[in-house]
């Protein structure tokens, strides 16, 4: 099939709407045709940037409360006008609204955390796949740390690794939600672990809440992540190693910071 015919199917391909045999055939073509592959990549990137840019507006808490009151009010018709019933129903309703609001809050928190996590995982994987993964190649923390001076708007401390299983491989400048940060790579038993350090933006509404998801450990597919805030900096540790290794490296970093 000529490229033109394939290109007509690229949108369906990146949208996951082709049936399995067609998707497999197009996949095979993409391996051999650089033009179509570049086109497909551009389409995926456009999809991704629209998905990111599209999540933009958040309803006010007031609107949420008003709507929830309306819905739960309508869902529970008054069964009795007895005063004692109201005495119980009003606080119960308040508790219900509060719990729905809280579960919604935590749900959106979870979604936010998931998004940041997947972006950091992407950065981690992209770096491992890169032919030139580091801009500063050194196992010496006293070389890596000063290299970042003037490249990012903050400084940080790196831990002494002697006696631990971890080795520092190098680092580069990276971006998350348009803010610059440090991306460091550590190695443990042939596995690479990414450490990301950004300025913590909690409490500053810059339209980019993704930079400040809740701290804690996350586990999805084969990646583990730990994240915390310390001295105004936001740390993320991402890798395909077990959570024990992630925790061990996090502990070292916490000790140094």
């Amino acid at each position: 099939m000529a490229c033109d015919a394939w290109r007509d199917k690229l949108d369906q391909y990146v949208d996951g709407e082709l049936d399995a045999p067609e998707a497999a055939a197009l996949n095979a073509h993409l391996r051999t045709c650089a033009d179509c592959a570049a086109d497909a990549l551009a389409r995926v990137q456009l999809k991704r940037s629209v998905a990111l840019a599209g999540k933009r507006f958040q309803p006010s808490a007031e609107l949420r409360a008003r709507l929830e009151a309306k819905i739960s009010g309508a869902a529970r018709p008054q069964r009795s006008a007895n005063w004692w019933w109201r005495l119980i129903a009003v606080p119960a309703l308040a508790v219900l609204i509060l719990s729905v609001a809280m579960s919604l809050y935590f749900q959106s928190d979870k979604a936010r955390r998931q998004r940041t996590f997947s972006e950091l995982t992407d950065l981690h994987v992209a770096l491992l796949a890169s032919a030139t993964p580091f801009d500063v190649v050194s196992t010496d923390r006293h070389t890596v740390k000063p290299w970042f001076q003037g490249k990012i708007p903050f400084t940080f401390n790196l831990p002494e690794l002697q006696g631990s299983e971890f080795t520092l491989l190098g680092g580069r400048v990276t971006y998350l939600d348009q803010s610059p940060g440090a991306h460091l790579i550590y190695q443990v038993r042939k596995h690479e672990i990414s450490v990301f350090i950004f300025q913590d933006r909690t409490g500053q509404d810059r339209g980019a809440p993704a930079a400040s998801p809740p701290s804690g450990q996350v586990h999805t597919l084969s990646f583990n992540m730990d994240s915390w805030t310390q001295d105004g900096l936001r740390y993320f540790v991402v890798g395909d190693v077990g959570s024990a290794d992630i925790e061990a490296l996090s502990k070292l970093l916490r000790g140094a910071g």
């Binding site: 033109d4 290109r7 007509d8 690229l10 949108d11 369906q12 949208d15 709407e17 570049a38 086109d39 990549l41 551009a42 389409r43 990137q45 456009l46 999809k47 991704r48 940037s49 629209v50 998905a51 990111l52 840019a53 599209g54 999540k55 933009r56 507006f57 958040q58 309803p59 006010s60 609107l63 949420r64 008003r66 709507l67 929830e68 309306k70 819905i71 739960s72 309508a74 869902a75 729905v100 919604l104 749900q107 959106s108 971006y175 939600d177 348009q178 980019a208």
Partner: protein
Amino acid sequence: MFEDLAVPLFDQLYNFAHWLTQDTTEAEDLVQETYAKALRGFSSFQVGTNFRAWMYRILRNSFLSSRTGLKTTVVFDEEDQETVSATEVSTPESLIIAQSNRELVQNALGELPVHFREILLLCEVEEMSYQEIAQTLSIPTGTVMSRLSRARKALRELLQRKFAGGSHGV
């Protein structure tokens, strides 16, 4: 039960409403109107069919019949017949830059005609399938594909113009 189905959609519906109306107050009114209508019409909702598409359809129809919606004169020019070749415009380099510039993409989305903007949001943000989009917009799946192609092409062109202009920096 209505509450269980409808409350989780609140954030998404609001985001969509804001993109359609481009105004906070109007978006709030639109979401409230949508929930009121959905609550009243819930008995007519057929269990087993797509609730999300049903809610979006109510929201969109309410928008189109609102004052702002009526002003956005939507022209659908024989889009079913036209095959779109996306090969004319594709500069991957510039799109890589686009990915890093969320604000630029947001501006471009806001400038797109509303029927392009809404289909892109449903596909990329809501991650709806072609079939779900067809249900939401009450159009055939074939039209979903052609409109989506055209919307993406329009967005690409708009982004490229913005890069060329360079006046919309970060």
